[in-house]
Amino acid sequence: MTRDIAVVAFAQTDVLRTTDELSEVEMLMPVLHSVLDRTGLKTADIGFTCSGSSDYLAGRAFSFTLALDGVGAWPPISESHVEMDGAWALYEAWTKLLTGDADTALVYSYGKSSPGSLRDVLTRQLDPYYVAPLWPDSVALAALQAQALIDAGDTDESALAAIGVRSRRVATLNSRAQLRGSLPQGDYVVRPLRTGDCPPVGDGAAAVILAAGARARELCSRPAWIRGIDHRIEAHALGVRDLTDSPSTRLAAERAGAFERPVDTAELHAPFSSQEVVLRKALRLDDSVRVNLSGGALAANPMMAAGLVRVGEAAARIHRGESDRALAHATSGPCLQQNLVAVLEGEPR
C-alpha cells in the first residue's frame, strides 16, 4: 500500500420504522450535507463518489439515480454504485483512492425497508433455482443457523437473549438507534429466534468521507486510518457451509491485519443475536474488546446502510479519541454469506 487513507467524517440519520413523508433523496440529503459540513468540503471538492442501495427495497429499477440528485451530480462527477451495503461502496472508494486517481471520496448508502415486506423482499437474493421458489425468509434462514449453533453447544436461547438485551441497553446512548432500552424478548418469530433476537426493520441512511494522506490530516484532527480492509464470500448454497462458523470473516480479518495486534473496539454487523456468536468466534474477540457500543444491528439495521454505519461508528470513536484501534465488520446475504472487515487506527495522542 502506497497511500494512507482514512475515514475523516461520518454522519447518519435517525433510523425509523417508517419515513413515508420522505423520498429516498429527501431522506438522504441531510446526511450528505452533514458529512460534508464536518469537513468543510463541497460536492465539487469530492474526487470520487460511491453509493450503496438496492432496487428491491425501492421496488424500482435504477432507484439510485434519483438519489444522486442529493449529491449535486451536475456538472458531471466521478461516481459509482454498488447494489449492496455501503460498506462495499466504501471498499470501492478506498481502492479508487489507492490508485491515486482521487484524494477524497464521498461514500453513502441508504435503504427504505418500510414500503415492502422485508422478509419477503430478501428472499429474492437467494439462489433462484433451488431456494428462492420456496420463499424462505431472512428470519427463517437465520433461525437455521441459530439452531445449528445451539446443537453445537456454542450458545443457548438465554445467551442469545442476553445479546439482544445488551445491544439495546447500550443503544440508549445512541440517539440514532431505532430500538433502545429494555424490551421484552418476545415470542418466537421462527424458533429458536424470538423478536428480541431479530433486528428491527427500519429506514435510514449513512455517509462517510474518505481522504488520503495529508488531505486527511487537513480535514480531521484525528483521522481514522484504514490499516487494512478486505471482503470475502462463501458458497451460495447454505447446505454446503458450516453455519456455526464464518471462515470468510476470519479470512477477511486476517487479510485486513486484524490479528496482528489486538483491537480495543469492534463494531460487528450481526443482524441476529446468533450471528454475533459466530462473529465473535471467527474474529477471536474476547471480553477485553468493547463490542457494538452503538447497539449494533439489533438496535438499528437500516438495510444497505447498517454495514457502512459499523465503519462510521468505529471511525467516529477514533475521531473522538475513544478508541485507538477498532475493527469494523459488515455482512450481506443470508447467514453471514459475505463479510467485510476493516481495521481502523488513530495516531498516538
Partner: protein, 313 residues
Amino acid sequence: MPEVLKAPLVVEFPFTRSLGPVQSAFLTGLRERVVLGVTTTDGRTLVPPVEYDPVTADDLRDLVEVGSTGTVTTWAWNHAPRRGQPLTTPFAWVLVRLDGADTALLHALDAPGPDAVHTGMRVRIRWAGERTGAITDIACFEPYDGEPAELTGSTGEFADPVGGIVAAARLDYTYSPGRAQTAYINSLVDRRTVGERCPSCRKVYVPPRGACPTCGVPTAEQVEVGPRGTVTTFCIVNIKAKNLDIEVPYVYAHIALDGADLALHARIGGIPYDQVRMGLRVEPVWTDGARYPDHYRPTGEPDADYDAYKELL
C-alpha cells in the same frame, strides 16, 4: 404539511431461467422422483448439485443418484407460514443431508409441532402430485423411521429433460413518492403544474423531486409553471406497446413548460406526427377524470426561438 400520498405498488415478474446440464438433470430427476447429486474431484457428493465446485471451482458434471431419505442437520420451526412457502400449515424449515450426500438441501418438513423435530432425525421426501421439473416437485419432507430408500438406478439421463424454469416472483409495496412529488401530484388535481425552485441556482424543477441535482440542496419554494410550453426535442414512436390504445406512429416529446428549467415528457397530439418540430408551442389537453394531461397539442402561437429553450435540451 398535507398527508403524503401512498398507493399499492405490485412488482411481478416471471423470470424464465435456463438450466445448465447439471441443474437440468437434477430438476428433471425430481420430476421423475429421482434425486441426483454431483461428485467432486475429491470425492464428495453435493446435493443439490452445482456446476462448479464451491471449493476448487472445478467443472462438475458427474451425476450420481442419492437416496430420497435423509437426516436433518439443522431446523427451525415456522409457526406462521408466509405466502409462497411450501406448506400453509406450521412446519419446520430443515436442512436435510440425503443418504449418500455430503451436503444438505433446504426444504420444509411437515411435522405436528416443534417437539416432533430434532437435529439428526430421519426424514423422507414427500413428492408433489404434479411435478414439472422444479424444486417444488418435492412437496416437503416428512418424518420417517424406516430403512434408507432404495435407489432407482437412474443414470441421470432422461427423455425430455427440462431446459428451464419459470421463477415467478411477486413483491407488494406501499409506495410513497415523498413530500415534493406528493405536492406535485396534488396540484395536478386542480390541473395545475407546480415545480420547486432551487434556493441556490434559482432553477425550477418539474416534476420536483425535493433536491436540486446541480447544487445538491433541498428545494422547497413552490412555483406554478405552464400550462403552455415548448417542444425541446421529440421522437416518433412506430412500435405499439402492449396494452397501449394509442395508434402509431405518434410523437413523444420533451416539453419545457413556461417558467420551468427542466423539460417534462409527454405525448403530442392534434397535429400530424411528421409536422411536430423543435420550438413548437403546446398546451395540455385534459380528459374528464384524468389525473394528468392526456397529451399536449399546438397552441397556434409562432414557434419559440431556439435561444429560448436551448439550455433545456
